[in-house]
């Protein structure tokens, strides 16, 4: 095929125009409002945190409301096999939740006292650091979140998490969901999942499911950077501890022991 100089210049010009057009359109036609506008009711914060008050929790008397509510809300499958179970929030005895923070003469009722554990939404999360695809990432409000559609299932985050907060879908979880909540997606086999501090509820102006469900007011949620929030007030007025603070992850879940 013969190409005249004129023809060549024409095509070249169109190509250059095409390359320039897109950034130009972006620069001039982009508005300040983000594409997905936020619900005006949405709860916003600078750094979300949670406080668990063990003195009020009635887990040992059989209460499971926070766990049931969370797992129902987020379609967490009920898999009985301990090796493959999926959990976002559950209870651990003091000595397991806080290894190294007890001693041999500790009162038996503290040693065995159940503590609600979940993702700590660390300020410096190792799971985010190691994820090779940014499928686990940290939002500006401090929530460590997961993109189930990007996760390749390498499980590096599970090796990195010092709190055992992450579960892997070894098999298709759907047959193990008793009652599906259509408002929240289910997962496929082969991806990791964990607590998301109920981002979807915060966006709709609701408190996290576990906090809302607790009948004994043992869970508090709020903005740690906001001096007037419930969590800030409690942290100022009580002695609280974190799980494994020595690892430098700076967890944002706090515990009142006694």
């Amino acid at each position: 095929m013969e190409i005249s100089r004129r023809h060549f210049l024409k095509i070249g010009g169109i190509c250059v125009l095409g390359l320039v057009a897109q950034p130009l359109v972006k620069a001039f036609a982009q508005s300040d409002v983000s594409k997905a506008s936020r619900d005006p009711k949405a709860l916003t914060g600078k750094k979300w945190g949670l406080v668990f008050d063990a003195t009020k929790c009635k887990y040992s008397e059989g209460c499971r409301e926070c766990i049931l509510s969370c797992h129902r809300t987020h379609n967490v499958p009920a898999i009985d096999d301990k090796k493959e179970e999926i959990k976002w929030i559950w209870a651990e005895p003091y000595e397991n939740a806080f290894p190294g923070q007890g001693h041999e003469y500790i009162a038996a009722e503290i040693k065995e006292k159940p503590f609600i554990v979940l993702c700590n939404h660390c300020t410096d999360p190792p799971c985010v650091r190691v994820c090779p695809t940014k499928a686990t990432f940290k939002r500006e409000d401090g929530i460590v979140m997961m993109d189930y559609h990007r996760c390749i299932g390498c499980r590096f985050c599970m090796a990195a998490c010092p709190y055992g907060a992450r579960s892997f879908n070894f098999k298709d979880p759907r047959p193990f969901i008793k009652e599906e909540n259509k408002e929240y997606p289910t997962r496929e086999k082969g991806v990791v999942e964990k607590c998301n501090f109920c981002v979807e509820r915060l966006d709709a102006g609701l408190m996290p499911a576990c906090v809302e469900a607790c009948p004994h007011k043992a869970l508090f949620f709020g903005d740690l950077e906001e001096p007037g929030s419930d969590v800030s007030k409690i942290l100022r007025s009580h002695y609280t501890i974190q799980r494994k603070p020595e690892l430098g992850t700076r967890p944002n879940v706090y515990y009142i022991i006694v």
């Binding site: 397991n96 940014k134 090796a159």
Partner: protein, 385 residues
């Protein structure tokens, strides 16, 4: 040159068919895994990496076979290695291919593997591992193939192969270092959180890679007219000896820090689990003692010049080195890191039958590639000899 892999003795073809059967079995199990998920493996919420990642970690070490012949040959003018550099490089190529396959079969969502390239994440060590492993693979296949081709055509290799070879030497160090960093940078895993992890990886790599290369050299000598040469094998044996001594020394260092400091954050519980059992769980204890015994056997045979210079003594020493490091690095190190779990409980791990078959299948792919590459290399060497 590829055609040289297409003609061979009956033994050659039966070996190829044997490997193909293993690959077929592994592939069938992999299809099953793809369908059912990783539930068909022995891995769990607590021990979330197992045999696959263990093999990957060990085989990165085997890939050191290349640098341990290339470095003495190009930097120290050790002429005897000239004949076998290509064997070292081709072994590295097969090892790296196996590494990549082991990562692939371990993924929960393998069809999304390109996300690693589509969303490159420089703060993830896994991203860098992908970069250094693929680079090392390319370097070795390009260098090995081009130099062999030149030998085939009886011309001197072009200058750029030498430049690439010089690049490949520090690059080899990078693959072990970066792979060690996968483990050594995780705050909650006491057994892995040790600054000498990269040094341990380098030492065990420089022992296991050349040990396999020695064994392969004996096999090549037995089945072809090409002789890698007694002197080359003995030089490699000296490398294996030093590297094995350093390897065992490094393991000893971990024991000292853990048990003398008695600080749980230095991996004492894991070492107890591995070598004595913890809370009544002791599945890995016999294997870890096998490691210890084999390591001692290897050291005795390697350090004693009489047994090292003796063909059968050296063969046993190399098998012992290879197997002991396989247990230590390919099983104990990876699985041990997860025990006890973040709640200080023990969940044990044992691979399942399909998991073992998939693992064998990947090894078979590596050995098939190795067989083909070695067949070509050896045929060229036989012609030019």
């Amino acid at each position: 040159m590829l055609n040289k892999a297409l003609s061979g003795s009956k033994g050659y073809w039966s070996w190829v068919v044997f490997l193909l059967i293993l690959i077929g079995l592994g592939f069938a199990c992999y299809l099953w895994q793809l369908n059912k998920g990783l539930t068909i493996t022995g891995m769990s919420r607590d021990v979330s990496w197992g045999l696959y990642i263990g093999q990957f970690t060990f085989l990165v070490g085997v890939a050191a076979s290349a640098v341990m012949v290339v470095l003495p040959y190009y930097l120290h003018n050790v002429k005897v290695f000239g004949k076998i550099t290509v064997l070292g490089e081709f072994l590295a190529v097969s090892a790296i291919i196996m590494c990549m396959l082991f990562i692939f079969v371990d993924l929960g969502k393998p069809m999304r593997i390109l996300n690693m390239i589509l969303y490159p994440t420089p703060n993830s060590i896994m991203f860098w591992d992908m970069v250094v492993l693929s680079g090392y693979l390319l370097l070795n296949i390009v260098i090995g193939w081009k130099v062999l081709e030149c030998e085939h055509q009886s011309v001197t290799p072009p200058h750029w192969t030498k430049i690439l070879t010089y690049i490949s030497i520090p690059w080899a160090v990078s693959i072990h270092t970066v792979t060690a960093f996968l483990y050594a940078g995780l705050p909650g895993r006491h057994y892995w959180l040790t600054a000498i992890m990269a040094a341990r990886f380098l030492a065990s790599a420089f022992a296991s890679g050349p040990a396999l290369l020695i064994l392969l050299s004996y096999i090549v000598r037995r089945f072809s007219k090409f002789d890698p040469g007694k002197e080359a094998i003995q030089k490699l044996a000296a490398i294996v000896t030093y590297a094995m001594i350093v390897s065992v020394f490094f393991v000893g260092l971990e024991f000292f820090t853990a048990f003398y400091s008695r600080a749980p954050e230095h991996g004492m519980y894991t070492l107890q689990y591995l070598f004595a059992g913890l809370d009544g769980y002791s599945k890995l204890v016999p294997l870890m003692w096998l490691f210890a015994v084999l390591a001692v056997v290897a050291l005795i045979l390697l350090i004693n010049p009489k047994t090292r210079s003796n063909d059968s003594g050296l063969k046993i020493a190399c098998v012992a080195t290879f197997v002991s490091l396989w247990i230590e690095k390919g099983l104990g190190l990876v699985v041990g890191g997860f025990i006890p779990n973040p709640f200080e409980r023990v969940t044990e791990y044992a691979p399942t039958v399909p998991e073992v078959l998939i693992t064998l299948g990947v090894w078979a792919v590596g050995f098939l590639l190795l067989t083909i590459l070695y067949k070509i290399a050896v045929s060229v060497k036989e012609e030019t000899a």
